[in-house]
Subunit: 513 residues, 2 copies
Amino acid sequence: MYLTQGLHRSVQQTPRETMTICGERTRTFAEVADRVARLAGGLQGLGVGSGDRVGILALNSDRYHEYLLAVPWADAVLTPVNIRWSPAEVAYALEDSGTSVLFVDDLFAAALPAIRDRYDGLRTVVHLGDGPTPEGTLSYESLVADAAPVPDARRGGDQLAGIFYTGGTTGLPKGVMLSHANMVSQNLGFMASRAFLGPGTRFLHAAPMFHLADLAGWGGQVLLGGTHVMVPAFDPAAVAAAIEEHGVTDVLLVPTMIQMLVDHPAAKERDLGCLERVVYGASTIAEALLRRAMDTLPSTSFVQGYGMTELAAVATILGAEEHRAGGPLLRSAGRAAPHVELRIVDDGGREVPPGVVGEVTVAGPNVMLGYWNRPEETAAALRDGWMHTGDVGHVDEEGYLYIVDRLKDMIVSGGENVYSAEVENAVASHPSVAACAVVGVPDDAWGERVHAVVVCKPGATLTLDELRRHVRSLIASYKTPQGLEIVEALPISAAGKVLKRELRDRHRAEGEA
Amino acid sequence: MYLTQGLHRSVQQTPRETMTICGERTRTFAEVADRVARLAGGLQGLGVGSGDRVGILALNSDRYHEYLLAVPWADAVLTPVNIRWSPAEVAYALEDSGTSVLFVDDLFAAALPAIRDRYDGLRTVVHLGDGPTPEGTLSYESLVADAAPVPDARRGGDQLAGIFYTGGTTGLPKGVMLSHANMVSQNLGFMASRAFLGPGTRFLHAAPMFHLADLAGWGGQVLLGGTHVMVPAFDPAAVAAAIEEHGVTDVLLVPTMIQMLVDHPAAKERDLGCLERVVYGASTIAEALLRRAMDTLPSTSFVQGYGMTELAAVATILGAEEHRAGGPLLRSAGRAAPHVELRIVDDGGREVPPGVVGEVTVAGPNVMLGYWNRPEETAAALRDGWMHTGDVGHVDEEGYLYIVDRLKDMIVSGGENVYSAEVENAVASHPSVAACAVVGVPDDAWGERVHAVVVCKPGATLTLDELRRHVRSLIASYKTPQGLEIVEALPISAAGKVLKRELRDRHRAEGEA
């Protein structure tokens, strides 16, 4: 199993059909394969060797797609970086993974000095934007044009395909190691479910391509040999325009994006009748939003995929039929996909019967190899081949999974995981803060929003603006608290732990009142 | 990846739906899982340990299906034996694989003494028939009833799933080692193609279940959680009856079986409108037969799968649309399935362009681990991960594969591979035979039939009847020559090799005349 296999297959079967559409640029399978073989040759010419990590920090584009294929073709390892991260976080991920070659686009070229200030290991930076090539970087197109094509290394099987960073419970991001077999088997299983994509489809990359959610669909589409359409980033008008102009059939969004799309005038002005499927993840969908989305997009099916980076990504699927039925099933994350086995277990690792709450665990060929250089966290997450997700839930008598809580102290805001510990580290470093706790509180637009509860040092004061400015200099803006509550003391358990549930429940009660 | 994963998933999602229908017997997923866990417990109680080989010699049944799941559940290895083989061949396969526990049904219990005469390593025989338990065997149902269920060993990944015997070019059958990952990844890829089976389908096992062709569909159906219907063996009237009575949607047949089914009165007397797909393999289909089949089964799609045991089994697929289009495409074996990459290579292993004839090679996660205890034949077949099929063909500009010849000296008759060397060994052992060659000649009903060309010893004579009697005592009846030609001398090349093409061409010319 190797990520590039589908490209070879498509070159054999449909060489002159369209593989990528990005703005005005369209490329066939044969053209992409030629460019990928040259880019891989260029990388090898730069000294990239077997297993070396090659990073990318860029908005979506056809070149991002070529990077994803050229790096394994060159026998190297993907390290796509979260585009919403601060320079400090990006530098951390690059250093942790030992990435020495980085691809950046026009937007992120500007962040290079700040990244280089914190990490001096970047040997080569390749600029894949359309603007002029910044000083100190190589031109992507020159690299492709000047290099001779090399044969595919056919890196595959249990070999490392990529290191994908997620927030860490301990406050630092950790690298999820996925093998080619992990990614390709989830692609096969996701496609065998028939829930998403299919023969002759056009997949729009509107969600960021660094994220495993979009990459899971990307891999499925490479496997099936369909067309990829890219927009740089999610924007409701641009997404609606791309769907209409390019006959997009499938798109992955998070519920927040669905809401922004269906509530935008473009959704009514454009003819979106070609859109067959929207798959969403990261949270369940509110029935009211789903109804509105179905009214706006009457010919579109909605599908939920639940999973995580560690599962490359899809583990359970809530299908189109369940969405049409509506009702309580909409609060479910769906049922085990064809490639996985799902079990709810108690603290001792024993399976519990339907209806009983426990930790969600998943087995299958998609379960990650482990966390990069983190044997202890790997051992905690992977036990006898079962991924312990940290999500708490139950299954019903028909195998439908319901997530009710998280063991990990994590907030999901607009489809992104925010680990409270990471935000707390940033908040606590403000000179006015004596103690703090960060929780997620319900939010109509984002699912949850980041909320800080702070005890100030004696005599000190703090405003939300001041706190946000401070935190944003350290971590990504989507992790920055959107609310601040100053308290005399944090509620503490007998064991000395902050009672976060109490902090959250206060807001839930307010929200419902 | 493990063969039992789909069973766990179905027990979680559809425990009370029907998993197997065999004659009057119907069992739910929960019932099958319970029986499988008990049967696995019974096997372990008999001393079957990790990696031990457990054989089966039986017609199709629901118990065959349970065997296929219980053996890996018990951490053991499947060795299903070809039901058309002679006792000598069965004994060879059991001895070669070191199988000490064998399942037999009523029909094959009668062959036990002849097998035991040749192989004394059978420690335990389990009788899974409906008749009385023969002396010296254990009752399958007692084994299931008396054993306590054991947890699934979840044998999987690269661990050996089974040893599947195919004819050998050197004259002896060889064991193809398939891992769980080999089998499950082909199941996922075959299902991702959407060419066969699908949600809510009922798959009829009419072709023998020991064969990878039927097992490829079996595995896909276990993965998707559909229903299995079994008939003991192919019989056109029984197949038509089962399709109508049980609402069968999918069946795997070889072209010979399709012909027998559509030309049988039952095909018109029965309502076969539920049959959505017929997948066939082992050879292409004659357009005249396909048209007749489409007329008789107007609501059925026809699909071809090309592959081999070494590929577990499907490598290329000719889909329903191509069949509806008809014409020259019907002579193609189809295009690479989602899980494989297909290349035509020259003698030096270099890929040749479309239209150029070479050896068919296949890469993918379904490529076997190797031949059991045959490192030399393994090294010859597997080079850099590519399976060298021994078939000679070319691909066109759209990736359609056309098989034009075989490197291996092999005859395909009624869907079974017959290696000439094996038949020649048997023919040559007749006291009247001085020299012989065995070739396949065209046959309307069987695709090819086995034809012997013999030079008699001075003064000796030989009739077809005499030869057939002799050969049948040694090898399976389907390998027995159906024609005999006595010649003065065999045509020999300068290098001393028999010119088989010359022998075959003579018959082709006659057939066309």
